[in-house]
Point group: C2
Chain length 222, copies 2
């Protein structure tokens, strides 16, 4: 069976898991301790980064954005990108928004500092970074609300990679209880729709040893 | 005519300029002072970032990776991505390598600190960041050499987005004279092949006021 080298709380890995589930593609999850820089893993991805998808014939596909593209190229049924070149560019812009901009401004500051750094690498989180992440998230939630008022899903009429990327990052930050849902009711409504999809079940069942999620994390009626 | 909001030394903007030239698509360049956060520009790209390509009908396409994808979707002649799903994934992996990993580990530390920060925002560069960039670049040049020994171009038999992204980042760092070509003769040979392409002419003619490039920058026989 195809395998995904991942970490439960890593948002890029989560995006791939959600995309695979949306496309009804089976996968075996393999937790990869990237900080160990295992030779076998570096042979799969010289960048030393997760996620890496390995197809049944052993071919590795590296990186969340590349894997999302690959899945729609290789398995065009149940597409996660739609429409003409401009519609596709809009979906790509928003996918990139979450995988790069939201990651840099929010997820890295919160999940990166509080979980990856503290639990996995044994370093203390930077309180400046945490403060920045907690402040930056408001602008992103407001943007989700702006888009939700105008479109069924972030990128248009259909669920797309943009929603998959948003679900991955929102769920990772929500695992910490750091999404201020009360201040952003329409963003909460949008995330409730994502949460109720079967593709989110395995994400909502994630449990990092020593860092349990808040009670509302897996609750569909949060 | 289509327009590109860019900055001369910005590697993402350079990648789009090279891709447009490889595809023989005309463009009018508009220097965008991103730090001013102009309302008209934020209306084109709420992320406030360059590059932004604006088609003749006024539609904006935002971000280097998204624009590279869009150009091959909208103008499939002279493609910059080739082959089946796996071959395309390999090209995407390497494009991402330069647009994200090389950017983070090298270009941001050198071009970001020395030019963007010092000349444009008026802050002093961090000597730690510069030291890190100058050290990190060796691993990347070694990887280019490893790939060059095995393939005609980085992603396979044909020039692709991966080479466009590499040319954009290498040229931006070379503008500072910070690429240690003497230590990496095969990477130099690869870059000499890129430099001789007509698509690089406008890049090699770039000149940032107050920060002239070293003499070898535009020299095809450097």
């Amino acid at each position: 069976m195809r395998q995904l080298f991942h970490l439960a709380i890593d948002p890029g890995s989560r995006a791939v898991r959600i995309a695979l589930a949306e496309k009804s593609l089976d996968v075996e999850l393999k937790a990869e301790p990237v900080w160990e820089r295992r030779q076998e893993f570096l042979a799969l991805n010289p960048a030393g980064e997760i996620p890496v998808l390995v197809e049944e014939d052993g071919t590795p596909i590296c990186g969340a954005a590349t894997i999302l593209d690959y899945l729609d190229d290789a398995y065009p049924e149940r597409p996660l990108i739609h429409g003409d070149a401009l519609a596709r560019a809009e979906i790509r812009r928003l996918t990139d928004w979450f995988l790069v901009k939201f990651a840099y401004e929010v997820t890295d500051c919160l999940v990166g500092e509080k979980l990856m750094k503290r639990f996995l690498v044994g370093q203390n989180p930077s309180s400046d970074a945490i403060r920045a992440g907690l402040s930056n998230i408001h602008g992103h939630l407001t943007y989700i609300e702006w888009l939700s008022e105008r479109r069924t899903w972030l990128g248009g009429d259909h669920l797309s990679r943009a929603d998959v990327a948003a679900a991955a990052h929102l769920s990772a930050v929500d695992y910490l209880g750091d999404v201020p849902w009360a201040d952003h009711p329409e963003a909460k409504e949008y995330y409730a729709r994502l949460k109720s999809r079967p593709s989110m079940r395995s994400i909502l069942a994630d449990h990092v040893p020593g860092a349990p999620p808040p009670k509302h994390y897996a609750d569909l009626d949060f």
